[in-house]
């Protein structure tokens, strides 16, 4: 077998694969081009899941007729002139690959500045004059017709269509003043009006609830905790209005909702980080979805601060305690090997006297749920989850300096520990003490518990102590607090008398209605009066 240089058409098709892997990539590249050209209106038409036709029409600067042919050569771009420009990329596109790559795998026709160019599989078919329309029109037909392998790897038409739409949605959300219109198989699927893309993408109801984020260089909008999604799909993160995929920043965002959202629920967010182009490298991957920050820790912290101040300031009252950012984000930063102090906790907002409204005890069902009446309707409360949250907050405040209250034991309790854990007792004595534990060493692999938190029943003291210690050793104060709260809370199945119910409800009143237990499970369920009326058809 002899080695030969690939014919240009083959080489182009291979290179194109990196940029153009599916119809949605074509849409993304072309929309980016339009935005870079300063378009205020971008129309996208998709037929046959983008395999039949992708048509982009914009009112941007277009391509000067003399340069039209050059634009379709690989590494031809107007956006970059020398290597130093690469250090500070201010446009979405810059590699000069997009148009050439798309042209290599399709039948492409471009019309701009009175000229028309028609290429097939990268080869020029015809070039000629056209009507003097503003902007640029690009029609991509028969995508991947010459690369059947790629075609076979595409997912179902519905999936590919959805991906195309999602690609446009991302830019629509990030460029609110640009009017986007997407037509799929002849029907309008998205139409933004130039000021509220959220309403067009997620609907009026969502748009109304969203909270504005504007804090230093982080802008956008995030959902209040009560609005959440089952996937991360609605979490849009961008750097300099370029959508990015960053697990770190996604984590930073999710952390802000920790304790307010159930596990597996994610916020809706559109967040853009404005950052000096030198501080970020977008040239990591051909599709530019991944970026590298010079100082990821700082971006992480800025994003968290911005989101926290937005959800903290939201109406109605947001969870009174910021969802403990300290230890876990600290852990993450350490993984990233960034020598940055953990993001500071925003000053605690004053706790509203009765964030969730007055709760009148009605009774208990299944020895597990409290039934109460609130001004909004009937409320069911998971007694264990609610008590866990109340105690978690209380223990947290003790860890942060509120006076410790420890109940001494009649008989000290000897607890055998693995040597590693036993060694941790001395390291964490201060924290253990502030939570109410008083322990003394008892040989190399045991300790004696002399006192425990007042709230923890003596029978639960030993398991609680073990888990708190394990949590502290793993540098997760949240885990430690959650374990302690769990062992100290009333259990599902405990019959509570009216006085106990009233007492627990009073404590729940001061919590935000959206609050979850420390493990993320919901605390309350509201059946509002309207719902009840509707159900019982009391329509008067």
């Amino acid at each position: 077998m002899t080695i030969r240089a690939l014919p240009p058409a083959v080489a182009d098709a291979i290179a194109a694969g990196e940029v153009v892997e599916r119809p949605a990539s074509v849409v993304k590249e072309l929309v980016e081009n339009s935005l870079d050209a300063g378009a205020t209106r971008v129309g996208v038409e998709i037929r046959g899941a983008g395999k039949t036709l992708i048509r982009i029409v914009d009112d941007g600067a277009g391509i000067p007729s003399a340069e039209l042919r050059l634009a379709f050569q690989r590494h031809a771009t107007s956006k970059l002139q020398n290597l130093s420009d690469l250090e500070a990329i201010g446009t979405l596109g810059f590699r000069g690959e997009a148009l050439a790559s798309i042209a290599a795998v399709s039948d492409l026709e471009a019309t701009t500045s009175g000229r028309r160019l028609h290429l097939r599989a990268g080869a020029l078919l015809e070039e000629g004059a056209a009507g003097p329309a503003p902007g640029l029109v690009i029609e991509v037909r028969d995508l991947f017709a010459n690369t059947p392998a790629r075609l076979r790897f595409l997912k179902s038409d519905a999936t590919e269509t959805a991906a195309c739409l999602a690609a446009v949605q991302r830019y629509a959300l990030l460029y609110p003043t640009v009017r986007f219109r997407v037509i799929v198989e002849g029907r309008t699927s998205l139409s933004t009006d130039g000021h509220d893309p959220l309403a067009s993408v997620y609907g009026e109801a969502v748009s109304r609830e969203m909270l504005a984020v504007d804090h230093l260089n982080v802008t956008g909008t995030v959902s209040p905790p009560k609005l959440s999604r089952g996937t991360r799909d609605a979490m849009l993160l961008a750097v300099n209005r370029r959508p990015i995929a960053s697990r770190t920043l996604a984590f930073a965002l999710e952390e802000c909702y920790r304790g307010a959202l159930e596990r597996g629920r994610y916020p809706v967010a559109v967040l853009n980080v404005e950052i000096s182009p030198e501080a970020v490298d977008v040239n990591v991957h051909p599709t530019k979805r991944e970026v590298k920050f010079r100082d990821e820790g700082a971006v992480f912290a800025a994003l968290q601060r911005a989101v926290r101040s937005a959800i903290g300031a939201g109406e109605p009252a947001r969870p009174p305690e910021p969802a403990a950012p300290g230890p876990s984000s600290e852990r993450l930063l350490r993984q990233l090997e960034i020598q940055e102090p953990p993001p500071a906790i925003d000053p605690q907002l004053p706790r509203p006297a009765s964030a969730g409204g007055f709760l009148r005890p009605v009774g208990q069902v299944l020895d597990g749920y409290l039934v109460a009446e609130s001004p909004e309707g009937m409320v069911l409360i998971d007694q264990h989850a609610a008590h866990e949250r109340v105690l978690f907050n209380r223990f947290q405040s003790r860890l942060e300096g509120a006076p410790a209250v420890s109940q001494h034991l009649l008989m000290a309790m000897t607890v055998e520990l693995e040597p590693a854990l036993a060694a941790g007792v001395a390291d964490h004595e201060a924290e253990l003490r502030s939570l109410g534990f008083e322990v003394e060493p008892f040989g190399p692999r045991a300790v004696r518990i002399l006192a425990g938190p007042v709230e923890t029943p003596p029978e639960s003291l030993e398991p609680a102590f073990r888990e708190v210690l394990a949590g502290l050793r793993a540098r997760s104060a949240d885990d430690a607090l959650a374990s302690l709260a769990c062992h100290s809370a009333v259990r599902f199945g405990d019959a509570l008398d009216l006085a106990e119910q009233r007492r627990l409800l009073q404590e729940v009143e001061s919590l935000s209605p959206d609050i979850t237990c420390p493990h993320g499970r919901p605390v309350r369920l509201l059946l509002d009066w309207q719902q009840l009326k509707r159900h019982f058809r009391r329509n008067y």
Binding site: P403, V405, Q407, L410, M411, A451, P458, E459
Partner: protein, 366 residues
């Protein structure tokens, strides 16, 4: 007639648990015997039996839904009631005054057989004293099933000496009494506190003596007074050696009026909600100062006249533990003995040795 029958039905119904998976346990076994009408209910852990005097024309038994029978009988006028069972249909006919009623029953054979004491060890104690001793200890037992032995009250029997002790790990109650008659036995039993809680209702007014019978296998205990009986299974396990935690010396002795102290602790503890019910007790100015604070609620402080001996002290307790003791003290005055802010406190009727209640203090960091 319905008067005594109604009361007996209510007493035995206490053994029926609200949620049982065995439907027959929702019924009361009603037996017509040569002694009278015997009512029995059980949840397999606790059984309660009462005898109601009745004129029996034919012996027989069946099981009747407890709730329905109890509710119905309680509405009947105080007139003669006659019961007759149609054994073939298991239908119990009740006739009283204007009422003619039939209740569907389940065969007596389905009812779990009650344990019998047969030849167990016995001792006899004055009933009222025993009921008081139970009241004074039972509340200190744990309600958490995680350590079953602590959900019971320890009965230590040494000849005629009977000691009841209960603890949940934070407080301890110990009561001594003397048997009026006893076999020469030594035994340690752990009786479920819940079973003891039923003694008062089931046995009150049934004569003056209580007979305690321990089954030969030492797994059941029977409390008998007059014609009533409460039986319970015993909790298996070793009770912790509590005697070492009863303080033997004190540096501060306080004596106060029991009712004043109850009232003061109750009032002040309303302000101890957030800090898990912690009240502070301070000596000084010829009395006690009780106080509690909750950040979001407010604070309260009250003075209480008291006799003081020894050094001044400031100590904190869970208010509920203090109240539990004061409520069962049955003495006008209460004596509190302390030996420093982190050592156990002792509550007892002044000068008495038969009852002690020990509470561990709470340390409140300032």
């Amino acid at each position: 007639m319905p008067g005594p029958l109604g009361q007996a039905l209510q007493a035995v119904s206490r053994a029926i648990s609200a949620r049982t998976t065995l439907p027959i346990l929702n019924n009361i076994l009603v037996s017509a015997t040569d002694q009278g009408l015997v009512l029995t209910a059980t949840n397999l852990e606790i059984g309660i039996r009462k005898l109601v005097p009745a004129e029996i024309s034919e012996e027989g038994s069946t099981t009747v839904p407890a709730r329905l029978l109890t509710d119905f009988v309680s509405t009947l006028p105080d007139q003669e009631l006659s019961l007759d069972l149609d054994a073939s249909t298991q239908t119990l006919g009740l006739r009283c005054a204007r009422f003619d009623t039939h209740i569907k029953c389940i065969e007596a054979e389905e009812f779990p057989p009650s344990p019998r004491p047969d030849e167990g060890d016995r001792l006899e104690v004055p009933l009222e004293e025993m009921l008081r001793a139970v009241e004074q200890t039972q509340m200190a037992a744990s309600t958490d099933e995680a350590r079953p032995v602590l959900t019971g009250v320890l009965f230590q029997i040494q000849g005629a000496n009977l000691t009841l002790a209960a603890t949940d790990g934070h407080r301890l109650a110990v009561r001594k009494l003397t048997a009026s008659r006893a076999d020469d036995i030594e035994a340690s039993l752990i009786v479920p506190a819940r079973a003891l809680g039923e003694l008062g209702r089931a046995l009150k007014g049934e004569g003056s003596q209580l007979e305690i019978i321990i089954s030969k296998a030492r797994n059941q205990v029977f409390f008998r007074a007059g014609s009533a009986e409460v039986n319970s299974r015993l909790i298996d396990g070793n009770y912790p050696n509590y005697s070492q935690v009863v303080p033997t010396k004190s540096s501060t002795v306080v004596s106060a009026s029991t009712t004043d102290m109850i009232q003061t602790v109750r009032a002040v503890s309303l302000f101890a909600k957030d800090s898990a019910n912690v009240i502070r007790i301070k000596t000084g100015n010829g009395g006690l100062v009780l106080s509690a604070t909750t950040n979001e609620v407010g604070d309260s402080q009250a003075e209480l006249d008291a006799g003081l001996e020894g050094t001044d002290i400031q100590i904190a307790f869970n208010a509920r533990y203090v109240l539990d003791a004061l409520n069962v003290l049955e003495a006008d005055k209460v004596e509190l003995l302390f030996n420093g802010p982190l050592s156990p406190g002792l509550i007892r009727p002044p000068g008495e040795e038969d009852y002690v209640y020990v509470i561990m203090p709470v340390r409140v960091a300032m």
